[in-house]
């Protein structure tokens, strides 16, 4: 990707330009640039250490980049905001390892994630509004956990936890969803169901999916960005990037 001198910021949902991050001298990201259009679903692939998770950390405010710009909706400089502020703007994140609140029931997990005032006193004195309950019911059906709603999340299977976490993202109703390896450790049937679920979600959300599983990426059928050593190696359809010699060399050829 060539570096545009004057990028048109307003049109893009997410804009990363020349982002570099180093940890104790190790360069996790070197001049990473990436643009995501509103409503787009994008798959990010790349070998271990390519910087996929660091990229997510930068976007969600967990890690501050050493240099480079990160803009959301062309207006919000994400390098100046913290995790809660970025989440409030409408960026949701699903972790690689499913992290749900194990001691809470499935529906309480969704209740906590559901879009609602996040202040201490708002949650102390306000219960679940009718609108929230409706959202929760709808999401429970979407993620196929309606039957499990009163079970503690800790009792769910691995695949169900992944779905619950995706459901929590939906409940947040973010503009952009970052999904880190959603099918790691899933059975083939679960993987196929997850691909379907993500495609469904992508109909009215922008989604970035980081994934190793090539069959799954093919199933999604979206534009692919290949990361390597902290910057973009290739971008295009899966067939295009699979044909790229450098990509074959660093990743697919292994």
């Amino acid at each position: 990707m060539t570096e545009a001198d004057k990028p048109e910021l307003t049109g893009t949902l997410l804009y990363l330009d020349g982002v570099s991050v180093s940890f104790d001298g190790y360069k996790a990201l070197r001049g990473l640039s990436l643009m995501l259009e509103p409503g787009e679903m994008r798959a990010i692939i790349g070998p271990n250490g390519a910087g996929k998770t660091t990229m997510m950390d930068v976007i969600t405010g967990k890690t501050r980049p050493d240099e480079g710009d990160v803009y959301f909706e062309g207006r919000h400089d994400l390098t100046r905001l913290d995790e809660a502020e970025i989440a409030e703007l409408g960026v949701g994140r699903k972790f690689q390892k499913p992290t749900v609140f194990e001691n809470h029931t499935v529906s309480d997990n969704l209740l906590l994630a559901a879009k609602a005032p996040r202040g201490v006193f708002a949650t102390l004195f306000g219960g679940a509004a009718a609108a929230e309950r409706e959202t929760i019911d709808r999401i429970l059906t979407t993620i196929r956990l309606a039957e499990q709603r009163q079970r503690p999340a800790g009792a769910l299977s691995h695949g169900q936890k992944q779905w619950l976490e995706i459901g929590m993202l939906l409940a947040q109703d973010p503009k952009l969803l970052l999904v880190d390896e959603p099918v790691a450790g899933m059975t083939d049937a679960e993987t196929a169901a997850t691909a379907e679920l993500l495609r469904e979600i992508a109909r009215n959300h922008s989604v970035v999916v980081v994934e190793h599983d090539m069959a799954f990426v093919r199933d999604l059928g979206v534009k692919v960005t290949v990361l390597h050593e902290g910057s973009v190696l290739a971008e295009g359809s899966l067939d295009q990037v699979s044909a790229d010699e450098r990509v074959i060399e660093v990743y697919l050829g292994r």
Partner: protein, 379 residues
């Protein structure tokens, strides 16, 4: 059995019945029932149980931050002691001219140190209302300032525990100094009366006992209302997966700060009730060992249960009273052993043991949501 606000379980109902019942019955057994009767409560029992209940309030406060929010405070004794000192200062000023040096304004220790004027920190403490306000305000403000810095800087886990320990130790050293202005090594004692009633009289002691029991019940109600609210669910989520809570848009530092301040105020009130009943407050109350002992009460009773914390405080202190009488040199070993045993075999404490018996009948683990089933199962 279920109220919509508190969603009380059987244990909670039993707890409220016992504490409110004790508040009502205590004075009758202590004052009305003739001394010879088997049901009469001798004054030393009134004082002892009153003291245990103050500890129970402290344990409940600690359980709110540790059991529910995962903040292991090893310095909660500091808030207890500060509340105690605020009450002690009121009681000192009530002595007035009846002190050894008969100074109507200055407490004895100030006269002894040749001080001529009342330090600013002592102004206003002749008023019970002002002292009561300080009982809550001083621990609350300290907890707010401490928490504001600690939680914003994302100090967690063992590091936070160490700072809380340092906090209480620093306060202990400060209060030990005579020129700090709070009686130094000897602390505050020789109290005469509270609100015009003799602190030594049986009637006053019985009233303090009732007041403590009611405060314990109220602390439980406040704590329970907090933990069953959506706020409480967020707090539990912070305990279990803090960064996840941040990523769904909650300001974790504010959530921690609120529960920490509420807990500190509760601990301060417990200290204020404690001082008139034991008749003294001195810097040893700030001792880190006291705060650690409170952690053991909560662990023994069952963390994250509120009732368990209060139960643990009473049970461990009952054992302490017995042990320090019967085999004084073995108490610390017994306490240490108890902590190890509970950690290894009873991770949910005494309350976990109670629930275990009930759970044997039904397969699913009870949670707030399955309370309804649990009640049916027990029926």
């Amino acid at each position: 059995m279920k109220t919509p606000l508190l969603r009380l379980d059987r244990l909670g109902v039993a707890f409220l019945v016992i504490t409110i019942g004790a508040a009502a019955l205590g004075p009758i057994l202590a004052l009305v029932v003739p001394r010879e009767s088997a049901f009469a409560m001798p004054p030393y029992v009134v004082a002892l149980l009153g003291k245990y209940m103050c500890y129970a309030i402290l344990a409940l406060a600690l359980d709110l931050v540790w059991g529910y929010c995962g903040i292991l405070s090893l310095g909660h004794g500091a808030f207890f002691a500060l509340g105690g000192y605020a009450m002690g200062m009121y009681l000192m000023r009530q002595i007035g001219a009846r002190g050894v040096y008969a100074n109507p304004i200055l407490p004895d220790f100030m006269v002894f140190l040749n001080w001529k004027e009342l330090p600013v920190a002592w102004w206003g403490f002749h008023s019970f209302a002002y002292a009561s306000l300080m009982v809550m305000l001083v621990p609350g403000v300290l907890a707010f300032a401490f928490g504001w810095f600690a939680f914003r800087s994302r100090v967690t886990g063992v590091y936070l525990s160490i700072i809380t320990q340092a906090l209480t130790y620093a306060l202990k050293l400060a209060f030990f100094r005579n020129d700090f202005g709070f009686g130094g090594n000897n602390g505050l004692t020789d109290f005469k009366d509270v609100l015009g009633f003799n602190v030594q009289s049986d009637a006053t002691r019985a009233a303090l006992f009732s007041l403590t029991a009611l405060t314990l019940a109220l602390s439980y109600i406040i704590g329970r209302a907090i933990v069953v609210s959506k706020y409480g669910k967020a707090v539990i989520a912070i305990r279990d997966a803090e960064s996840r809570v941040r990523f769904i848009g909650y300001r974790v530092e504010n959530y921690k700060l609120f529960v920490f301040v509420v807990s500190a105020v509760m601990a301060g009130v417990a200290g204020a009730l404690y001082v008139p009943q034991v008749g003294i407050i001195n810097p040893s109350e700030f001792d880190p060992a006291n705060s650690i002992e409170a952690v053991i009460w909560v662990a023994v009773g069952g963390r994250g249960t509120l009732v368990g914390a209060a139960l643990g405080a009473v049970a461990v202190n009952f054992a302490k009273t017995y042990f320090t009488g019967a085999f004084p040199e073995y108490w610390l070993y017994a306490l240490g052993g108890l902590f190890v045993l509970v950690t290894l075999f009873l991770p949910k404490g005494l309350v976990g043991l109670l629930n275990l018996r009930r759970r044997a009948a039904e397969p699913t683990p009870p949670s707030t949501a399955s309370l309804a089933q649990q009640e049916e199962g027990a029926r």
